[in-house]
């Protein structure tokens, strides 16, 4: 074997790969990061709200320099009935403009910045190179292949995202040769341009705040989909996340129709009217949770971020960038440990799994094990949006003797085909899982 020029090769320059590489360089590990896009972020797409402060572990001043769009100071959660009504909870908190909990981001900007930080930290960053496979010798990963050539390293961190070709090629998915439809949703997204002043006036965000909205899309056809709408500086991020199995037997309905229908809902229309489409794209979202993780380590290899399945999605809220950062850091620390002891076997690299445990990532995924089951509950999409609309219509109709809320509920339940037992069960399930 030729002598490795790098101790570690990271494949993929998204949040997971960049975070891993930066941490490695900070710990003095000679690291090469390979990204297939010509410029960081050009292949990446998220909603997206970057929640939390996880980057601070490697980049303490990130809030001062990461190109973000707007801090979330207004959160909307809504049910949109396909018949037009909308039931929306609208939470405004001006304090969140300064005590930030999340920022709307655009990946073409953030990921480029992340790769710049990696370079500054001492990582050798190569863009415009598509890694074709993991190179193995005697079952052990020894480097990466590209155009028939192998670049060697003691260990490879696979961070190639949701559509992870390398875990498939490298046989790191428990024997599966294909990703499982039940464990992925499809996100379809549009960027809509709207003048900054219009955004600030229409959404009431001010110059220093932003809106993050997530919506259950009521549909009688059985398609399970959530919609999102986020304010950026002078654009809006609008999209849907669609449960793939629910697209089966849907005649000629397509995923691009679903995003179209979301944008055309009267409530959403009122927020996006006049905006001009400037980009359209799509990306997979891992949502299989704990049951769907790839193998996390092997001899000479670790898997992080979306590639491993560290993304939490329930169709409405997605958290993946923060887990990408955290899993990347956990893997980097395991590699630094392996470098110290001079052993890169799966046994030593399993330190990664212990790091994931102590970081709390594993507990998060264990606790949320059933959330996607709850949220892709067909009742939520087929019945509740209409049910809520019916309740409120009844309450607002001022005809006849005033009825008690309870009577409105009973009648609306009848009309929407929802039973008391359903509501109780779903309410309990929701409460226990959230």
């Amino acid at each position: 074997m030729s002598r490795s020029q790098y101790q570690c090769i990271v494949v993929g320059g998204g949040f997971a790969g960049a975070s891993a590489a930066i941490r490695l360089a900070q710990k003095g590990v000679k690291t090469l990061l390979v990204e297939r896009a010509d410029e960081g972020g050009a292949k990446n797409l998220s909603g997206g709200i970057l929640w939390g402060n996880d980057l601070a572990a490697i980049l303490p001043d990130w809030k001062a320099t990461l190109p973000v769009e707007r801090p979330v100071s207004n959160k909307k959660v809504g049910f949109l009935s396909e018949n037009g009504p909308a039931f929306v909870i609208d939470f405004h908190d001006p304090a969140l403009k300064t005590q930030t909990v999340g920022y709307a981001v655009l990946r073409a900007k953030t990921d480029k910045w992340l790769l710049e930080q990696a370079k500054k930290a001492g990582v050798t960053v190569v863009t415009g190179v598509n890694v074709e496979g993991l190179a193995k010798q005697n079952g052990r990963v020894v480097g990466v292949q590209q155009s028939g050539e192998t670049t060697y390293a003691d260990v490879v961190i696979v961070a190639d995202g949701a559509n992870s070709r390398l875990t498939l090629q490298g046989d790191l998915r428990h024997g599966h040769k294909k990703l499982d439809m039940d464990h992925y949703a499809l996100g379809v997204k549009e960027i809509l341009k709207l003048p900054r002043a219009t955004i600030e006036e229409r959404f009431g965000t001010g110059t220093d705040g932003g809106m993050a909205g997530e919506f259950v899309l009521g549909r009688c056809d059985g398609v399970l989909a959530g919609g999102f709408l986020y304010t950026n500086q002078d654009t809006l991020s609008l999209g849907v996340v669609i449960n793939l199995p629910s697209m089966k037997n849907q005649g000629e309905l397509t995923t691009h129709d679903v995003v179209e229908q979301f944008r055309n809902h009267p409530y959403i229309q009122s927020l996006v009217k006049g905006a001009e489409l400037v980009e359209y794209g799509a990306h997979l979202v891992p949502e299989g949770g704990y049951q769907a993780f790839s193998e996390l380590c092997g001899d000479g290899v670790l898997v992080v971020g979306d590639a491993a399945g560290f993304c939490f999605s329930n169709g409405i809220v997605i958290q993946g960038m923060n887990y990408a950062v955290r899993s990347g850091i956990c893997a980097a620390d395991a590699v630094a440990h392996a470098v110290k002891v001079g052993d890169f076997s799966a046994v030593t690299l399993a330190q990664y799994e212990r790091n994931l445990e102590s970081d709390g990532i594993m507990d998060d995924f264990r606790n949320f094990k059933n959330v996607s089951k709850f949220l892709w509950n067909p009742r939520l999409f087929q019945k509740y949006p209409d049910f809520l609309a019916n309740v409120f219509r009844r309450m607002l109709k001022a005809e006849g003797p005033k009825k008690k809320m309870r009577a409105h509920l009973t009648e609306a339940m009848k009309e929407s085909g929802v039973s008391k037992a359903d509501i109780l069960r779903d309410g309990l399930n929701g409460g226990m899982n959230l």
Binding site: R36, A37, D38, A42, K43, L45, S46, E82, N83, G84, L106, R107, A108, K109, D111, G128, V129, N130, E132, N163, R165, K178, L179, D180, M181, Y184, L186, V188, E190, I191, R219, C220, D221, G222, N232, S237, I242, L244, M247, K248, N249, Q250, G251, E252, L253, T254, T255, H256, D257, E260, Q261, N264, L277, V278, E279, Y280, G281, A282, H283, L284
Partner: protein, 128 residues
Amino acid sequence: MSAHSAPAQVPKNVAGGGHGHVAAPDREASPLAKLPKLDVKARLGAAKFVTDGHDFAHITVDPDICDTCPHEMCINTCPAKCFEFVNGRMQFTYEDCVECGTCDIVCTPGSVKWTNPRASFGVNYRYG
């Protein structure tokens, strides 16, 4: 036939291929069915692509396998409308592909063979 017929779609040769439509839910009742449809190809024009020459298709399909497909989910799910039956034969156009990977996942019969485009080619997001 549902009210969801896409504009200008060439009807498939149902008799020839055996890929007759699986019964779709009745959408006549839903107001969603009455919405105007934007051409997805026009929407894709907004994304920036660097198209690889015609010598390298990063995804290939085997139309013979498609002839026997029980669900044709690639057509329902591909966000870029790259899959279409034309005169009863599956026709795949990779140029508009946004590299999401969905077709590989949903193609249970195994017609789709998926790889990343060569470096520097394919979709190039300016926002993402």
